[in-house]
């Protein structure tokens, strides 16, 4: 199953290559000193309280919203929205 995926495949961008400018930024991170590794996760307190979760209900889009969503769809044929041919690998 193990398969090496290059960045062009991961990014779905033909011929994509890592850039020199961006690699320079990453080098700074690689070489940075972490003087307090216990800090990790301390500030990740953005969890939402169960009381704040919104109701699990289906909200129907308005007619105008539905119309615009269909208008935005790239391809339509005989009232069906068309996607590209899916291939199995």
């Amino acid at each position: 199953m193990s398969k090496i995926m290059t960045v062009d495949i991961l990014s779905s961008i033909k011929g994509a290559q890592p850039s020199e400018a961006v690699n320079k930024l990453f080098d700074v991170i690689k070489n940075a000193n972490l003087n307090n590794s216990n800090a990790f996760n301390k500030n990740h307190n953005n969890a939402v309280s169960l009381n704040d979760l919104r109701e699990d209900v289906v909200i129907n889009s308005s007619a105008i919203e539905k119309e615009i969503i269909i208008e935005n769809f790239p391809k339509e044929k005989n009232d069906y929205l068309v996607v590209s041919k899916v291939i199995e690998e």
């Binding site: 991170i29 800090a39 996607v83 899916v86």
Partner: protein
């Protein structure tokens, strides 16, 4: 207090001009402008709304403070039925199906949207040159960049085409163009304003904020847009900031600045001298000023870009031409995805998507992405420590004055490094305002999280002092 909104409100009520004339005049200015600040005009809806305001005034009814006030919207916000392109080829024909919460609140208050404003594509840039609508020119010197990514919004405010504009700030995208075009721009505390309907760049630092010509106008617009929104669970309930509360600075005894920002080799000599002169004026008013230690600029910039690229790679993966976006058909689904994305994303957006996928991939995530998260925590801890010692942190907005148009696109690393003074406050989720005084590109005022009122208070003091 100086306020363009109050002034126009009074003029409308006194029937010095009609709302229709006000809106039409501004639309004409936007249409004929040569700064490339406009992606699309919302003339039909704007004039319809103006007619309603005029009818209300004519019948002797009171109008709200924002009713009839013309404003601009960075072209990354959903406004139902309008083109929302993110200045990209991929979405150049995309129409919003719904309206962003922040914008809806302004519409509910009666403000009139005039324009979807030019910006860097998907917020990817610091110069507003990464756009299919042409580089946005600086309002003061049109040979220079407007800054970015909310460049069109800052220019429209600076040129009085809009009374205020709504920008988006992920790593400095409101504060830096505000500084480059000499207007006020606020990045509020993360979560103060709902991001629902803002096209996501880096969700953990994306902020909605106003650009305007006065602190009072920033306060008015901030109050209208703030508040908890069930559609963005990072939002919180916040108190409205009153005009009286920002009039005196009794609470501010001590401010600080980052020594290494000012002692850096990268800072322009004039920016440094002007900054230090501003500090002396503040000291002269009896406020204590402390020098603070902070992370090196390259660490801040690298941490920010590592995390922002990882998040944008994930957020933009949905743009594949299948559900929406300008699809370019390949011989199968995978090829359709990759041709669509290769042809329709700009070089800068591709650079960031590829960078993001690099750091998120196996083997790299530990030594780059997770380490970046760890550094972010250390930066936040540093701010917490600092705000136990000082009430406000003051810094220049940028190390240098705006570059010429054409220089930034050829040197992405230099562009990333130009964000050195803004990205830290984004990572810390702090409220930070650009005031167009004190250095050639202004000063940044930051306070602890949720302390947006203190930022406005100090800005008001500084505005009178400098």
């Amino acid at each position: 207090m100086e306020s363009q909104i109050h002034k126009i409100h009074q003029q409308l009520m006194a029937k010095e001009f009609t709302c229709t004339k006000l809106v039409q005049d501004r639309l004409d200015l936007l249409k004929s402008n040569t700064y490339n600040s406009v992606n699309s005009l919302l003339d039909k809806i704007a004039l319809e709304l103006a007619t309603k305001v005029d009818a209300k005034i004519e019948s002797g009814q009171e109008i709200g403070l924002l009713e009839g006030i013309p404003f601009g919207i960075k072209d990354v916000y959903m406004v139902q039925g309008t083109y929302t392109t993110a200045s990209s080829d991929l979405l150049k024909n995309y129409k919003s199906a719904y309206t962003a919460t922040a914008i809806q609140k302004l519409l509910d208050a009666g403000a009139i949207p005039l324009v979807k404003e030019n910006c860097d594509s998907f917020g990817h840039g610091s110069s507003s040159e990464n756009t299919i609508f042409g580089a946005v020119k600086n309002a003061i010197n049109s040979d220079l960049v407007s800054g970015g990514s909310s460049g069109g919004s800052a220019v429209n405010v600076a040129k009085d085409y809009t009374v205020f504009s709504i920008g988006g700030d992920t790593g400095g995208s409101i504060r830096q163009p505000a500084g480059y075009n000499k207007v006020f721009g606020l990045k509020p505390t993360y979560g103060k304003i709902s991001r629902f309907g803002l096209m996501a760049y880096a969700s953990s630092t994306d902020c909605v904020g106003p650009i305007a010509k006065s602190i009072e106008d920033i306060r008015i617009v901030l109050n209208v847009m703030s508040g908890k929104d069930i559609k963005d669970l990072t939002t919180y309930q916040s108190e409205k900031i009153s005009e009286e509360s920002i009039l005196n600075i009794d609470e501010i005894k001590t401010i600080g600045y980052f020594k290494n920002f000012i002692e850096s080799d990268a800072i322009d000599a004039q920016v440094k001298a002007d900054f230090l002169a501003s500090i002396e004026k503040i000291k002269g008013k009896g406020i204590e000023v402390k020098e603070l230690d902070f992370f090196e600029s390259d660490t801040l910039v690298s941490t920010y870009y590592t995390l922002a690229m990882a998040e944008t790679a994930s957020n933009l993966s949905r743009l594949d031409g299948t559900n929406y976006g300008a699809r370019i058909e390949g011989d199968n689904l995978k090829n359709t995805y990759s041709i669509t994305r290769s042809e329709n994303f700009s070089d800068e957006s591709k650079r960031r998507i590829v960078g993001g996928n690099q750091v998120l991939s196996q083997g790299f995530s530990d030594e780059i992405y997770l380490k970046g998260l760890n550094l972010r925590d250390q930066i936040s801890n540093n701010f917490e420590k600092d705000f136990k010692e000082v009430d406000i942190i003051l810094s220049p907005v940028t190390p240098n004055t705006p570059p010429k148009i054409g220089e930034s696109l050829n040197n992405p690393l230099a562009m990333y490094l130009s964000d050195a003074y803004t990205v830290g406050f984004s990572l810390g989720k702090l409220p930070t305002l650009t005031i167009p005084k004190g250095t050639g590109t202004g000063l940044q005022i930051s306070a602890a999280k949720n302390n947006d009122a203190l930022v406005l208070q100090f800005a008001n003091f500084l505005n009178d002092l400098i």
